[in-house]
């Protein structure tokens, strides 16, 4: 599909003031507030545009499946460093970047937006623009590409995205150490303060899981220091954590993502059951299953120095992202108007009235 078709659709919607619901593979349609507007499909706009492994950069159309990108990178022994979850086979690059999702490697390698180098986008007036580029260092103009990341399509439709990529590490090993969640926080933070090649840490109500990546010798030495048992199928474990396929995530209750300083004490909510928590990102991202009123969860995360997101389930007609201060919301609204003056792109998907 040519980008001019998408451009025409947005131009037409701009003239008539019709709200659009930008839709890729639909794998994350449950994320954010309730979508409104006419569907605008991007999946036809697919394909890798350029990839030269020695440049450590890949550029692909937004409708390209995440799996196609992983395959292409894998052939050259490279990967997306932020380890994005796909939440379904149909996940696209555009949807991943629009949601700004990062996986278990995030605290050690960086987030989705850290690796976005450039993008082509259509704003809410139907104007095609190009920001950033295909080089790793680029400080010309405001960093609109990173602003687009995680903006849930409310500022523009992504046409293509350039990402920095990195090589796979040679050896990967997962270790398990028995620990109560409240002890796990301290232990994970202590290990994160060492130079060991740790690329993921998570804890459930029984164990801490460590992932080590590096050369054979460095992984061996690090494993000896951590002294855990080797987990047989580490690859599968981290995939299940990333994709929410663990039994923990099979639950009808609303799922909260709590982002806090990695040393925030556990449990964050008095009287909560350890089995309702899963600690990811070495303690910096905590999954919490709860029917508690949203205000309470938002307030709890804020008190701990972080913020909560109603990630899946619950009332999507209310706010699902942590409330912004008045001054910050005003800036958000002005930025929204700067990119999408008639508010036709995914209106209300992130916050009410945005």
């Amino acid at each position: 599909m040519r980008s001019s078709k998408l451009q025409n659709q947005i131009e037409t919607a701009y003239r008539s003031g019709t709200a659009l619901n930008i839709t890729g593979g639909g794998s994350k349609s449950w994320y954010g507030r309730e979508p409104t507007g006419e569907p605008l499909l991007t999946t036809g706009h697919a394909g890798i545009l350029s990839y030269q492994p020695t440049e450590l950069v890949i550029t692909a159309r937004a409708g390209t499946r995440l799996s196609a990108i992983s395959e292409a990178l894998d052939e050259s022994k490279q990967r997306l460093p932020f380890d994005p979850p796909s939440f379904g086979e149909t996940a696209t690059l555009g949807g991943t970047v629009a949601c700004g999702f990062s996986g278990p490697r995030r605290p050690y390698a960086g987030s989705c937006r850290d690796f976005v180098l450039g993008c082509r986008v259509i704003n809410g007036k139907g104007e095609v623009m190009h920001f950033g580029g295909e080089v790793m260092k680029n400080v010309a103009g405001f960093d609109v590409s990173r602003l687009m990341t995680g903006s849930l399509g409310t500022l523009g439709l992504l046409l293509d995205v350039s990402l920095k990529v990195l090589p796979h590490r040679q050896v990967e090993q997962t270790l398990v150490v028995k620990a109560e969640p409240s002890d796990a926080i301290g232990m994970m933070n202590r290990w994160a303060g060492t130079a060991l090649p740790i690329t993921a840490m998570a804890a459930d109500n029984e164990n801490i899981y460590f992932r080590l990546c590096g050369t054979q010798a460095s992984v061996q030495k690090s494993a000896a220091l951590i002294t855990g048992t080797v987990y047989a199928d580490g690859l599968q474990l981290w995939k299940h954590i990333r994709e929410h396929k663990l039994p923990f995530f099979m639950d009808e209750r609303p799922l909260w993502r709590i982002s806090v300083p990695s040393d925030a004490p556990h449990p964050m909510m008095a009287n909560s059951n350890d089995a309702d928590w899963f600690l990811g990102w070495g303690g910096a991202q905590r999954w919490f299953k709860s029917e508690l009123p949203a205000e309470q969860v938002f307030a709890m995360a804020k008190r701990a120095g972080g913020h909560a997101t109603l990630f899946r389930g619950g009332d999507r007609s209310a706010e699902v992202f942590a409330p912004l201060s008045d001054a910050e919301m005003l800036l958000h609204k002005r930025l929204k108007t700067a990119f999408d003056p008639k508010s036709i792109l995914n209106p209300g998907r992130m916050y009410r009235g945005l």
Binding site: V128, V135, M136, G141, R146, G193, L331
Partner: protein, 487 residues
């Protein structure tokens, strides 16, 4: 008129600042007329040196009422005129905000004020085994607030990223004095990524008053390999081969013949003076990992045709091998009265061609060029040698520099990798962006600062300026801003 306004401003500012924090006499203002790029100068109306956030807030509100432009300034080491005053503006120095507020060892973050020097952060957390990764060459002097405003890099960007990758939170003041917290000790905050947007915004969107930086554990070990080449293209290929081998060096630097000669004469690092190019490849991490990768690096360089390969055996040798590279700018500075440092980035594949073309232009313009190159991430620093006292030579140098930047853009790169646009590269911005992008940038600026009072006239050129230059980025085959007359 201006005099009246200045007097009124001084009297109103007197209620906010102590007399010694308000500079108004010409001899006091003089040191603030430029930043690290001294060819661009402008005397400010006043210089203000607040020491509390409430004072900055009051200053901004007052300046908004009086419609006076504000240019924020850190250490003044920037290389694009970002902190150069604009006419009639007050300079808002954040130099007195120089405290490290707190260090959180468990969470590996530090909260600092904007005037703290880059290197002072690493020094303050050294005893905990931590450091702050971005290391611009000015790190002993430059301030962390300025680093955020410019999104500064350094020699370790390939592995550890730029400032934007190493800052978790900011407190900013908007022009109307509102304090806004972006990010903090937790990761990936809600809403738009204003934290990223602030990085590299060159003081146009807000005034940074507090920064939460990420601290990294110091690697157990670092070693560097020096590879010498008798051909620049072969050196460029060696850089690509290192990446292709799956190695992520902590630093991957390249220098050409003139830069090598100058650096060796200055720093005696042990570089062979007849070499056409050298590549420095540093590996850090656990001891075992470093030893494994050093072997791979040596193998790659050998296969790439290096005429000499030397790996540092200890920390003293490592520092010695780096000494030449780190002294490259002052060393080149001894070859001519002045030098002009370019900052374009290119895809690595374009390196050989771009260097060849720069060599040709160097002859045409009769201006020597030494090339220092953050090879791993494609960031070039051609240093054009000239003499500002020779009539016309500065203009010739600027013209030569603009051609290099144009070539970077044509090669798929950018006009600036880490120094920023400031006042210096405004014209070159017209090459990299079309009218739509520039208009969108102004709309972003307008969202933060509707009266255009924060560092006005920097970073983003007006459409009119681009049209007058006749240098236009052709977008999708169409000439931009057809509404403007062209001469």
């Amino acid at each position: 008129m201006l005099r009246d306004k200045k007097e009124r401003l001084i009297s109103r500012l007197g209620a906010i600042l102590s007399p010694e924090a308000l500079l108004s006499r010409e001899e006091e203002l003089k040191p603030y007329e430029c930043d690290g790029i001294s060819v661009y100068r402008q005397l400010p109306l006043l210089v203000l040196l607040p020491e509390r956030v409430e004072q900055v807030q009051a200053i901004l509100r007052l300046c908004q009422q009086e419609q006076v432009a504000v240019v924020a300034r850190g250490a003044g080491t920037g290389l694009s005129g970002g902190a150069m005053p604009v006419e009639g503006a007050v300079v808002l120095s954040l130099a007195k905000f120089n405290r490290i507020i707190s260090v959180n060892q468990a969470n590996r973050t530090a909260v600092v004020e904007p005037g703290v020097r880059n290197l002072a952060i690493s020094e303050a957390v050294d005893h905990l085994g931590f450091y702050y990764a971005p290391d611009p060459s000015s790190q002993i002097a430059c301030s962390i607030g300025g680093n955020v405003a410019e999104n500064s890099g350094g020699v370790h960007c390939l592995k550890y990223g730029l400032t934007v990758h190493n800052v978790q939170g900011l407190k900013i003041l908007t022009m109307d004095g509102e304090l806004i917290e972006l990010g903090g000790a937790a990761l990936d905050g809600p809403g738009y990524d204003l934290l990223a947007l602030m990085h590299g915004s060159e003081g146009l969107l807000g005034v940074i008053v507090e920064i939460t930086v990420k601290l990294l554990p110091k690697p157990e070990m670092a070693r560097v390999v020096l590879a010498v080449f008798d051909d620049v293209e072969r050196a460029g290929q060696a850089v690509a081969d290192i990446i292709a081998a799956g190695i992520v060096p902590a630093g991957l630097e390249m220098m050409d013949h003139l830069a090598i000669k100058a650096a060796e004469a200055f720093a005696h690092a042990g570089y062979p003076c007849d070499a056409q190019a050298i590549v420095l490849c540093e590996i850090d991490g656990t001891e075992e990992g470093v030893q494994d990768f050093i072997v791979s690096v040596e193998q790659v360089f050998e296969a790439a045709g290096a005429v000499q390969i030397r790996a540092s055996a200890n920390e003293a040798e490592r520092l010695q091998l780096w000494a030449g590279r780190k002294a490259a700018f002052p060393a080149v500075g001894r070859l001519a009265p002045d030098y002009y440092c370019m900052d374009g980035t290119i895809p690595k594949r374009a390196l050989a061609g771009v260097l060849r073309q720069i060599g040709k232009w160097s002859e045409e313009f009769s201006l020597p060029v030494a090339n220092v190159f953050h090879a791993g991430d494609g960031n070039m620093h051609p240093l054009i040698l000239y003499d500002a006292n020779k009539p016309g030579e500065l203009e010739r140098t600027e013209a030569f520099g603009a051609k290099i930047l144009e070539l970077c853009v044509q090669s798929g790169g950018s006009i600036t990798g880490e120094h920023g646009v400031g006042i210096e590269k405004l014209d070159s911005m017209c090459l990299q962006f079309g009218a739509l992008e520039l208009t969108q940038f102004f709309a972003v600026k307008d969202a933060f600062d509707p009266d255009c009072l924060l560092n006005p006239g920097k970073a983003v050129p007006t459409l009119h300026r681009c049209a007058e230059l006749g240098r236009m980025h052709v977008h999708d085959g169409q000439l931009p801003h057809p509404e403007l007359e062209r001469f």
